[in-house]
Amino acid sequence: MGLLSLAIWTPILVGVVLLALGRDQHAGVVRWVALLGALAGLAVTVPLYTGFEVGSAALQFVEKAVWIEGFNVHYHLGVDGISLWLVLLTAFTTVIVVIAGWEVITERVNQYMGAFLILSGFMIGVFSAQDAMLFYVFFEATLIPMYLIIGIWGGPNKIYAAFKFFLYTLLGSLLMLIALIYLYVQSGGSFALSDWYRLPIGGTAQTLLFFAFFAAFAVKVPMWPVHTWLPDVHVEAPTGGSAVLAAIMLKLGAYGFLRFSLPILPDASHEWAWLMIALSLIAVIYVGLVAMVQQDMKKLVAYSSVAHMGFVTLGFFIFSDLGMSGGLVQMVSHGFVSAAMFLAIGVLYDRVHSREIADYGGVVNTMPRFAAFALLFTMANAGLPGTAGFVGEWMVIIAAVKANFWIGLLAATALIFGAAYSLWMFKRVYLGEPGNDEVRGLSDINAREFLVMALLAIAVLAMGVYPKPFTDVMDPAVAELLRHVANSKLN
């Protein structure tokens, strides 16, 4: 069994064991088993990084076996520079959410922890699948645990949110399924991505396929105007669910653009790049403005996620080295920052049971240590140099200016809006005199919460100060991808 299989199946197996054996009487044991499972899942991804040959664009740690003979589907795994960091990010985030849910979740602990571990395995599967059907199975399978996480442990309007999440994303994926089957038929019965990269496809077919993939991935990213599910879902999801959703599940969509739309449909991608850039800019500017007027902290961060993911898609569809690497860096950094933002909101919510900005004020007086962390994450969300949030946005803006000054200018305004909504929220929640008695009675974060915050803070700072390990891994794969995208596949 290869390392990637271990990375996928370790958390899933531990999750299944938790589902089968756990009872709430043994919640303590369940938590420790879950933590050990998550740590084991992280541990098996470490050799992926240390053993990764930097500077090579080839797939590494490849595993291939026949899976469904009748349809020529293979269990084909492999990572390149594009997916490696996303795999690591997934395993890392799983450890974080397990710790973050430690005392907060008291009911059906085994199902909660099991769902997150299984979800983690599925998502690593998405990032390492090299067979389209394997990709689709993992991609869709993530819906089931997330649906249950939102629906069981969510807020008051959780049922609406769970259904909206499931059905919204299912519609997109089903259209993609038709596109996958169409490509399977056209390629003479192969689901291998490498075959599809070489397959010539006509102009009209490319456009139709492009929009079928768009339906699946744009909903997941989410891009404007199909982003409306995200705020609703984030508001109702439990803290851990929001963190995983923002940190990783949104990346499944962006990753899909890189693995499917761009290399398989290069001509349609170029043809419709204007649309993608326009939608991305709308996400960056308009949704940034929408974020500013939110009263609910989670909604604010959710809208800011949409704006940040706009940078990712913008970077991809400029078709330059810098833009694409910038988009990838932004994916990873947004993973750290958005998870941190949601977990910080979770810390407050666990104490006050409100997400309304108006219910807070002056938290810094009673929770100084926590406020320091929150300030760091807020700055990172605003894209302050020296934090993870800066690197990707800066790269994308430079690439945009190179491509077209006006696109660059519009994209750069996001830094202003980002700073505005992030800092304004920080001011209203943390600064000033304590807003009410509940805030006066708050106790600062305990050791467990400190650990979670510190781990994320280290990641955010490290990536902001020294992004070279990230870009070095990504660059060859990005160059290879751009080479694919530059070749027309029209006959």
Partner: protein, 498 residues
């Protein structure tokens, strides 16, 4: 005409017929309220028959018997094997339920079920219009009696009457259609009908109108039996009114037999008319997907909802069946029909799990047949909630559950010839399955997100518990490794065209 091979071809039917009579007689001596000995003997018989059928199916041999009136081929043997296993699971799930509702005063439940199974066997093996019709009548007459088995229940009696009247009408349609085909081709034998139409003799006599008119009646009769719109009216009422264990008996294994006669009549017999009947199936598919999915949303009764869900699922099956021949090119036939077979087999597996849980939740004096009765099942029993959730996600077609691969294979067969018409149908089908996902998810929501309204402990004997667990596990395991069952279906259907 009757040679040694004839007996070999029919030995599962003969074994089953003999044992059914033995069980009916032996039951006279059984006095225990739950008929333990009859039950054990029935299961033993079915297990032996299933093993023989599985071995016959795996051997891949095709034997004709009784002058070509019946055939023992891999498709038939596998379908009979699956139908036998499905009946075993049905009886395991339903015995306690039937016992609590005064349906085990005699052993009729077992002997009638066995006769119904025998009817299915004859339908599946029949290679002659009359033999198939005989099997169908044996199955349906046993089913009418089974629905009415709860004799002091008005709903069940009403359902039995409806089922009988509409079922008789459907049989009439089928028989009328078959008689026209007979008139046009001069033969009742499926092979000869095929040869006669393909050779042009039937059309030479100027009887092509008769032939196509007959075809319309045949398709209508089959549509009645499969329960696809617009011939679906009996399905919700009968599913709802029949005792739940009998609902499973009607909605489970017989679908396999219905699939078999569709293949025998339309593909093996009337394949040269595929252009005609595929159009009809396309209409049936579209209507079923529409009616089934939309009507299911409005249901509050669980059994009615599942009835409409069945209509929608059968609509999906129609899509697979109509994908075989496209523009006169039959190269996709094996692919399309094996995909359809995979679809129907996995559908039956999932239906068994679903109804298994519903039957389990019913107690003496309490029918667990509204959606709200499932509320908070996850808190009462994570295992059964898990089985039910796996079945629901499977019916909705979400990977990694087996229902996804069923939908995948049908869509793949449909798109093998990517004409605009087929692509349009595929898009329509996935949009409809999105609507379908809503009501399947609603059941998951009720089980997982709502608080329990019942607190009675869920009691299940060891046999029910283990079969239900295996059933749920299969829905998941076949979703992770579906290749084996797909290969069985491909081998079975390939033998038809060998």
């Amino acid at each position: 005409m009757i040679d040694k091979l004839s007996w070999v071809a029919a030995y599962p039917e003969i074994l089953l017929a003999v044992m059914t009579c033995v069980i009916a007689l032996a039951d006279l001596a059984v006095k225990t309220p739950l008929r333990g000995s009859t039950y054990a003997l029935t299961l033993l018989t079915l297990a032996v028959v299933a093993v023989f059928l599985g071995m016959a199916g795996a051997s891949g041999s095709t034997i004709e018997g009784f002058g070509g009136m019946i055939v023992s081929d891999p498709m038939g043997n596998w379908l009979k094997c699956f139908a036998t296993i499905a009946l075993m699971a049905t009886l395991v799930y339903g015995r306690a339920y039937a016992g609590a509702r005064d349906m085990l005063r005699g052993g009729e439940l077992f002997s009638l079920s066995l006769f119904a199974l025998l009817g299915m066997f004859v339908m599946i093996s029949g290679h002659n219009f009359l033999v198939i019709y005989l099997g169908l009548e044996l199955l349906t007459l046993s089913s009418y009696a089974l629905v009415a088995l709860r004799r002091d229940d008005t709903a069940a009696t009403e359902a039995a009457m409806k089922y009988f009247v509409l079922g008789a009408l459907a049989s009439g349609f089928l028989l009328y259609g078959l008689s026209m085909v007979y008139g046009a081709t001069g033969s009742l034998d499926i092979g000869q009908v095929m040869a006669s139409i393909a050779g042009g003799e039937a059309t030479l006599k100027g009887s092509v109108q008769v032939l196509v008119l007959g075809l319309v009646f045949v398709v209508a009769g089959l549509a009645f039996k499969l329960g696809v719109a617009p011939f679906h009216m009996w399905v919700p009422d009968v599913y709802h009114g029949a005792p739940t264990s009998i609902t499973l008996l009607i909605g489970g294994a017989p679908k396999l037999a219905a699939f078999a006669i569709v293949i025998r009549l339309l593909v093996e017999g009337l394949q040269p008319l595929a252009v005609d009947w595929q159009q009809m199936l396309a209409v049936l598919a579209v209507l079923s997907l529409l009616v089934g999915n939309l009507a299911a949303i409005a249901q509050t009764n669980l059994k009615r909802m599942l009835a409409f869900s069945t209509i929608a699922q059968m609509g999906f099956l129609m899509l697979g069946l109509m994908a075989g021949v496209s523009g006169g090119d039959g190269s996709n036939m094996a692919n399309a029909y094996s995909s359809s077979m995979f679809y129907v087999v996995t559908y039956v597996l999932t239906t068994l799990g679903t109804f298994g849980v519903i039957i389990l939740l019913s107690r003496a004096g309490f029918e667990s047949d509204t959606i709200q009765d499932l509320a908070g099942l996850n808190q009462r029993s994570p295992l059964y909630a898990g089985v039910m959730a796996a079945c629901m996600f499977s019916l909705a077609g979400v990977p990694p559950l087996v229902g996804f691969y069923a939908k995948l294979s049908v869509l793949q067969a449909l798109l093998a010839s990517p004409s605009t018409f087929h692509v349009g149908l595929a898009v329509f089908a996935v949009v409809m399955s999105l609507i379908g996902a809503f009501y399947y998810l609603r059941l998951v929501k009720v089980m997982y997100f709502d608080a329990p309204t019942q607190s009675a402990p869920i009691e299940a004997s060891l046999d029910v518990r283990s079969v239900l667990s295996v059933n749920g596990a299969l829905v998941l395991i076949l979703g992770i490794v579906p290749g084996g069952l797909m290969a069985v279906c491909a081998q079975a259907v390939a033998a038809l065209f060998a």
